[in-house]
């Protein structure tokens, strides 16, 4: 795919091993500089150095403006960055002296500028600039000597660098850091081994969050999928199908905060005449009003009902699409063989939509494991209604207990892990089929 550069034959004179050696030296240099930087005694009170313009100063400038003014400025500024990236990608790989200089300048300037935008602290500046320069040199040389011609590695790096930076700094590093922190106490300094995990399973809050999360993950996907499937089958080819679909599908667009308030109103409990629908029905039938959300047994199921209410529409839409994909010939054939509607559904439709059912089930399971909003809005985790995804934030925000909150997050991750593995395997299989 790369643009072939005329210089390719000339450069072949330097053997590959030399290239490898030079790249290795630069890489070792970077690691060495980094190690020297982080093993020096810590200096306190160092001031940030900047070129008079940094990411921080830009965000401060933006932050002082009216929110609606910030939108276009941010969009234009970001578009400018993307435009620079595209121009570099377009022109850098071309052969010729000018483009060579462009690559050279970009390789050295971009890393240095990027680091300086983050305002390295005074005592670290020299090392940071050194690392940036070495990285630039490494990139330039690796690019210059690439088998596919110079400019190839350069454009690849520029294409992928923004996404890679976001993923590594924003997801990979924090996830690893959370695992690391889960072995330390509240302050994050003293190593406590597995104590936080022991806490998770013995402290009432931790214990109930684990139990409730399991209840959520077992109950919500099955019920949502069954109701969604039944509904999809019942309205399939019925009159007003579109309208009936919209009614059940609409909760999908509503936020959990909105859904939480909608259902809190249904669950409303008071003395005297009831304005909450559920208690009005209960009292109308001659019963006593129930305080649904503070009842320690019922509340989890009341919250589950809200979640099921939002997820059923999702299940229904996907399964409805799958049902329409089952070949009519098969259904016709089964009917000619004398099967009734239930047998056709059981033996033809269900096998035909099996993969969609699994997708729906895993998706809703993952969503129910991570649920936060519904619990936060409706009960605040009180009366044993807490779940892992909520308790984790609760421990961090209310008690500043980083160790506990990290351990809860890791337990949550361990619950999700089998589903991740399953999904990756599924994706690999699909690729092989393709």
């Amino acid at each position: 795919m790369a643009v072939v550069s005329p210089g390719v034959t000339r450069r072949r004179r330097i053997p590959r091993s030399v290239t490898g050696a030079i790249v290795a030296v630069a890489a070792i240099g970077i690691v060495a500089l980094f190690l020297v930087l982080v093993t020096r005694p810590a200096t306190t009170g160092a001031v940030p150095t900047s070129l008079g313009f940094s990411l921080n100063s830009f965000f401060r400038f933006l932050g002082g403006l009216h929110p609606l003014v910030q939108i276009p400025i941010m969009v234009v500024a970001f578009a400018a960055v993307v435009a620079i990236i595209l121009v570099l990608i377009e022109f850098a790989p071309r052969p010729g002296r000018g483009y060579f200089v462009l690559r050279l300048a970009a390789c050295f300037l971009i890393p240095v500028l990027a680091f300086m935008m983050l305002r390295p602290l005074q005592n670290a500046t020299l090392y940071v600039v050194g690392i940036a320069l070495l990285a630039g040199a490494l990139l330039f040389f690796a690019d210059y000597r690439a088998r596919e011609g110079s400019g190839y590695v350069f454009q690849l790096v520029i294409f992928l660098a923004p996404a890679a930076l976001l993923l590594i700094l924003g997801l990979v590093y924090p996830a690893l850091s959370t695992i690391w922190q889960s072995f330390f106490d509240k302050t994050g300094k003293t190593f406590v081994g597995l104590e936080n995990y022991a806490w998770t399973f013995t402290n009432p809050d931790g214990f109930w969050s684990v139990i409730n999360t399991l209840i959520w993950a077992l109950v919500a996907p099955v019920i949502s999928t069954v109701i969604g499937l039944v509904y999809a089958v019942f309205i399939d080819k019925a009159r007003g199908e579109k309208f009936l679909k919209v009614l059940v599908f609409m909760p999908v667009a509503i936020s959990f905060v909105g859904a939480g308030i909608i259902w809190k109103f249904v669950y409303d409990y008071r003395e005297g005449s009831q304005i909450g629908l559920l208690n009005a029905i209960v009292t109308g039938l001659g019963g006593q009003p129930v305080s649904w959300l503070s009842n320690e047994v019922l509340n989890t199921f009341c919250l589950l009902l809200v979640f099921i209410w939002t997820q059923t529409g999702f299940a229904m839409v996907i399964l409805s699409a799958a049902i329409k994909g089952v070949p009519t010939e098969q259904i016709e054939a089964a009917r000619l063989d004398g099967a009734n509607a239930w047998e056709v559904f059981r033996n033809v439709t269900v096998p035909g939509i099996r993969s969609s059912v699994i997708v729906v089930l895993t998706t809703i399971t993952i969503a129910s494991l991570k649920v936060y909003d519904i619990v936060a809005v409706m009960t605040g985790g009180r009366n044993n209604s807490t779940v892992l995804g909520f308790e984790m934030v609760n421990q961090q925000q209310r008690f500043q207990s980083y160790g506990h909150s990290s351990a809860l997050a890791v337990v949550l991750f361990l619950f999700v892990l089998p589903l991740i593995i399953y999904n990756v395997r599924q994706m690999r299989k699909q690729k092989e089929v393709r």
């Binding site: 929110p67 924003g170 019925a238 529409g313 409805s320």
Partner: protein, 321 residues
Amino acid sequence: MTAIDEPGIRRATALSEREVKRQEREARNKLTSKGATIAAIVIAIIWTIPTFGLFVTSFRPGADSSSSGWWTVFTNPSFTLDNYFSALTSGGTALTLGQSFINSLAIAIPATLIPIAVASLAAYAFAWIPFKGRSIAFVAVFALQIVPIQMALVPLLSLFSRGLTINGVSVFPGFDLRDADHSFATVWIAHAVFAMPLAIFLLHNFISEIPGEIIEAARVDGAGHGQIFFRLILPLAMPAIASFAIFQFLWVWNDLLVATIFAPSSSLPLTQTLNSLSGSWGAQWYLQSAGAFISIIVPLVVFFSLQRFFVRGLLAGATKG
């Protein structure tokens, strides 16, 4: 909802029209019995009533809604718009609902556009620039998609506020945005990060399906990857980008968790303000209901006007979060 009916339609056109009609009549007779239809309508009613009840309440005078159930409105109707005005202007300590409506816009629009741009660049590289370890890198990105956001919250927050410190040596300081009036920077970045795996995955799936001949032809005409991406891939991938954009916009708009952790108190979005106001409003359901519908209105408008894209984005992006 036509998008998802396509396979059915396509197959149907292969058959003659009369046969289709006959089949449909037959299918209707056999599958949708009366009982099934009634059951479906019952489900539909159960699913609609909670929203409808709150909707009615949001137009009832406060004195009415706190003393009698919303269903009494049919025998004793009285309506007002005051609830919406008082909900919009009644603020907590710092923000009114109206102000956080604007904040929600200021958060959601950049938080939709930024990840799309970054992810489409990466998706193009994954799809059309061969390199060593490409498929492993792509699987890694896919796997990151399902890592719970909760795993990344606290360290990312400390990266923003305290900067990077390794082994006791501070390398970079954190952002110093406390005295800014309305800073959304950390929320934008956080949303961009959390959107990244899914966005790359979805856009890659679409971009890699674009016929290679088109791209080859452009290369022969002398276009580099920059031009191909901007002039060819972006326009061709627009349906996928639009679907993801709507999904991401709604996700950000409806998000509570990321805002709770990352947004400074003057930059809180609608969901967060509504949640805290909801606590202080307590049993004042005329305010709760109006507030809830103010926050729901934008998603519902998006839902009804762009349903086709919405369904497509949902089908593809259900695993996010």
